[in-house]
């Protein structure tokens, strides 16, 4: 479904992604794991096209020069040069790190903004579905986004991404700063969304333990390079991964 080959991203002279190739098949959950500064967010921005946007802004302001090399193919089409808004229309929706919900809009308004690309009937169905997956949100319908707790905000962010009718959902650190209980809810819902909606999902995370069990295929990034990849069980049983990401020696 998504195939990114030989992605290289330079921030000025710093190499943020070094020849990373990732692949996501239809209806798969793909996990991307790595420590801070491994290049997870850069990868997400590059795939969703936000990197193009950042590059242009930096160029206008005379800041860092960002160079993006490599190819991205989505549903058999080359989308390397597509703008982020076009990519969203194609069905690649990013749920950004630290949620980035609209803090001054109510929950309902946030979701309605997300539904900009959907037809009215799709929007209605998806809204029901979101409240079904996250019942907590339904009670908070009228609440202003900025006053939600971290977990509720994350639910809202994923709900907003779902409203845009994704074919491929990019979740950037969805467990950031959440309690173990909420983490398990988020992980369970991620799997549910894949199973029920048939959406492919790429999820990044620093800490592999909660997420690894639900992914089909995993990549491990280190300093911008993909050092290891493989199906879940293979990665799970790799001794290096066990010691580095699970704390099992």
């Amino acid at each position: 479904m998504l195939e990114a080959t030989d992605l290289m991203v330079f921030y000025e002279n710093m190499l943020a992604l070094n020849n990373v190739s990732i692949k996501c098949e239809d209806k798969q959950i793909v996990g991307v794991f790595g420590a801070n500064s491994a290049g997870k967010s850069t990868l997400m921005y590059t795939v969703s096209g936000i990197m193009e946007d950042i590059r242009k802004k930096e160029e206008m302001a005379g800041g860092e020069r960002i160079t993006v090399l490599g190819q991205i193919r989505f549903l058999g089409r080359d989308i390397t040069d597509l703008k982020p808004s076009k990519r969203a229309r194609e069905g690649i929706i990013l749920c950004p790190e630290r949620r980035r919900i609209f803090p001054e809009c109510s929950v309902m308004e946030n979701l309605r903004i997300g539904a900009y690309l959907a037809s009215p009937s799709q929007a209605k169905d998806t809204l029901e579905y979101v409240f079904n997956v996250y019942p907590a949100l339904e009670k908070l319908k009228k609440r202003v986004g900025g006053f939600l707790s971290g977990g509720e905000q994350q639910m809202l962010a994923i709900g907003r991404a779902l409203m845009a009718q994704p074919k491929l959902l990019l979740l950037d650190e969805p467990l950031l700063g959440l309690s173990p209980l909420i983490q398990s809810i988020m992980v369970r819902s991620t799997k549910e969304i894949r199973n029920e909606k048939g959406i492919s999902i790429i999820v990044t995370e620093q800490y592999a333990r909660p997420v690894l069990p639900i992914v089909d295929y995993a990549f491990i990034l280190e300093n911008g390079a993909a050092v290891l990849e493989g199906p879940r069980d293979e990665v799970l049983n790799n001794p290096d991964v066990r010691s580095a990401y699970f704390g099992v020696s």
Binding site: M8, F10, E12, N13, M60, A61, G62, G63, R65, T67, L69
Partner: protein, 335 residues
């Protein structure tokens, strides 16, 4: 497949001149001093190379706008307060200096410093209520004061009313006038550049980035913002005080919005956040606007076109672009 990308790296001499080692060779010293000397010497010989009295007067006006632009850049890009109060500063400083001169008989060179300090204090007091708030309030309030001031002066017929205050003394001669404003611009320019790298400047930049974190570090952000507004309105009031002695008249046109808007345009063209950039912007914009005077009202159209072109094609500004070319080289490298 071979891929190439353009690489930017610092020049060797820039790296060597960064530290104390710069003192070890004339070449590195020259590299550091050259751009500064070009500006300083260039400003100092400007009055000599101007062809006529008229253009010498333009230089003084350039310097007054430059003071305003430095004050705008300092407030907007190092403290995070977007000020539209250029007209307020000019007006308060101008009227104070005119009153000092006509009513109390102070000579211009004494009236100007007093008007600068007192005017800065008045402006800070006027703007103090909106310093606690973040966002657009400061800009609105600072824009509102000059509008209100003109109406108050007109309605109450105080401070000379619509006629203004006549008979203000001029500078002893035009050389003193020009060198006074030029030296003041250079003084405040390099002073502000030093200030933003001192401890106080660091706190102010932190206030711009995240005021909650600064408050959490136990500092009163309102106090620091007030200090910044005082410094920046002092620059503006100084400009206004000089202006009334140049024109020998103080009137309601001191509160004209040109004084608020043109410094912003100069900052955009010169390069935001560089402090030197706005001065360069004024050196370009003010003479250009004088040259365009022949076109009458079409002047504004040309002016707007220049501005828009700059924002679209070079929004980083001349100074940011120039600094990059001076300090760095570019070359193609194989990936």
């Amino acid at each position: 497949m071979e891929q190439r990308r353009k690489e930017r790296i610092d020049r060797g001499i820039k790296v060597r001149a960064d530290g104390l080692y710069a003192l070890m060779s004339w070449r590195e010293l020259g590299y550091l001093i050259l751009p500064r000397m070009v500006l300083i010497v260039g400003m100092l010989i400007l009055p000599f190379v101007m062809p006529s009295m008229y253009w010498q007067r333009v230089i003084s006006i350039v310097c007054i706008y430059a003071l305003l632009a430095v004050s705008f850049d300092f407030l907007a890009h190092f403290v995070g307060l977007v000020s539209l109060g250029g007209a307020l500063f000019i007006g308060v400083g101008g009227y104070l200096s005119a009153i000092m001169n006509t009513s109390f008989g102070f000579p211009p060179l004494l009236a100007i410093p007093i008007a600068t300090i007192a005017g800065a204090a008045i402006c800070t007091l006027l703007l103090f209520p909106c310093l606690r708030l973040r966002g657009v309030y400061f800009a609105i309030v600072s824009l509102m004061y000059p509008l209100a001031m003109t109406r108050v002066i007109e309605a109450l017929d105080i401070l000379g009313g619509t006629d203004g205050i006549m008979g203000v003394d001029s500078f002893p001669n035009r050389w003193i006038e020009q060198y006074f404003v030029i030296l003041m611009v250079l003084l405040f320019l390099f002073g502000a550049r030093r200030l933003v790298n001192m401890d106080l400047g660091l706190v102010l930049r932190a206030v711009k980035d995240n005021d909650q974190a600064v408050r959490a570090s136990g500092m009163s952000i309102t106090f620091y913002k007030a200090v910044a507004v005082f410094i920046s309105s002092a620059m503006g009031c100084l400009g206004g005080a000089c202006l009334v002695h140049i024109y020998m008249w103080s009137g309601m046109s001191l509160f004209a919005l040109d004084f608020s808007i043109l410094p912003i345009a100069a900052t955009v063209i010169g390069g935001a956040g560089t402090i030197v950039g706005p001065v360069l912007g004024c050196l370009i914009l003010v003479p250009v606007s004088e040259l365009l005077r022949e076109f009458g009202t079409l002047r504004i159209v040309f002016y707007s076109v220049i501005l828009v072109a700059f924002i679209v094609f070079r929004s980083e500004g001349i100074m940011v672009y120039g600094q990059r070319k001076y300090h760095q080289i570019e070359r193609w490298v194989k990936v």
